[in-house]
Symmetry: C5
Subunit: 102 residues, 5 copies
């Protein structure tokens, strides 16, 4: 899984029927120091994520292993919201406390 | 899912029999500011997309989860047409209004 | 699916038994203007492609959705031969006519 | 499979129900000489790995082929801990002995 | 499938139980002229490959379509040993004869 920040959302009226009811969020993949890196993508939200949260995104066929995405045309899902990240013995991210994130 | 712009179409007379009847569109993947980025690819259209529309493309095995691509040799499908993209609280794309797109 | 040009072929006497009988072609992925880009790869031919043809390659699990690759250790298949590519209203590739291709 | 070093761990209280009970480790992919390369990612631990160990990570649908990840939204799993790596006839990594690793 | 050279092997005592009995080889992906390119990876050997051989590697779910990798946490398999590569009408690689390979 990779780290991303929720930065917005998208609306698609015209879509495959199996995609009905999805909450589709705009997510920004993050680099080594949790800075934005690469293009924003669209992920289906399976956990109730919101703007400015650091989330875990799961891609490929594995993204279909949640109850909201099963057997659906989804290749990216938000399957977790990060509380803390510990790296080399130090907490480098903490929800509500790390600048730039909620 | 990723963002792409429909920029054309292709014709293949000689193709795998399971690909019969597909509408195959030429799509241009988009970068952070919705500018063209990377090579054009070919996606099967599952939603009735047209030239100059901003669409959502779904790749890999997940692209076979629509009624037109099921069990077929397809690794990229258009599964949604974007109406609006909201980013950091602002609408940054709106169908029919954003320059360069229809 | 992506664009590639058939540039040769390979021979493997010693291979997994499920790969017996394959025609394995050397394909060169193409960039934005159909110039060579990236490393040549090996694709199983499912459509009778030949040297110097512009083809569509399908990757991953989707490459196993043809009759010659089903349930086999194949991650890249040629599933179409391009006749024409229309881009922004103009035909930018036409079989037998575009220079460098057959 | 690719090489990575375990550099930390993450905590997610809010996550997909199928991800309950996972030990989620922060792993750093490694370059040609086993130096850090690319963004840290999150892998599910299937083998009891610990900080500073060199591990093998398996991605995509194959990452779901362990008893802890089966049918779950996981796209990266640690499926082995490296003892030795032999390259061009020389041992270039040995657990407990190579600097920077445990 | 992609080209790689076998450059060594690895030992993992502690590994997922489904990975027992695998011969795990260190493989170096190759660039346009069969020079080393990118990071070495670990592939399961399904064909009896040895050091300095040019092999075909198959990735993703397709790598599980051999008898030694079926239903196992494997995302890269060696499924063929190259005898010859013909490119634009010329043989550019021949086993036992091309320098740098066996």
């Amino acid at each position: 899984m990779k780290f991303a920040k929720v930065i917005g959302n998208i609306v698609c009226t015209q879509k495959d029927e199996r995609a009905e009811g999805w909450k589709m969020l705009l997510v920004q993949p993050l680099g080594p120091n949790f800075e934005p890196k690469g293009e924003p993508m669209v992920a289906v939200d399976a956990v109730g994520a919101g703007d400015d949260e650091m989330v875990l995104i799961c891609s490929g066929s594995s993204s279909r292993q949640t109850s909201v995405t099963k057997d659906k045309p989804c290749d990216l899902v938000i399957m977790g919201i990060i509380d803390t990240i510990e790296r080399e013995g130090e907490v480098v991210f903490r929800k509500f406390e790390t600048e730039g994130f909620k």
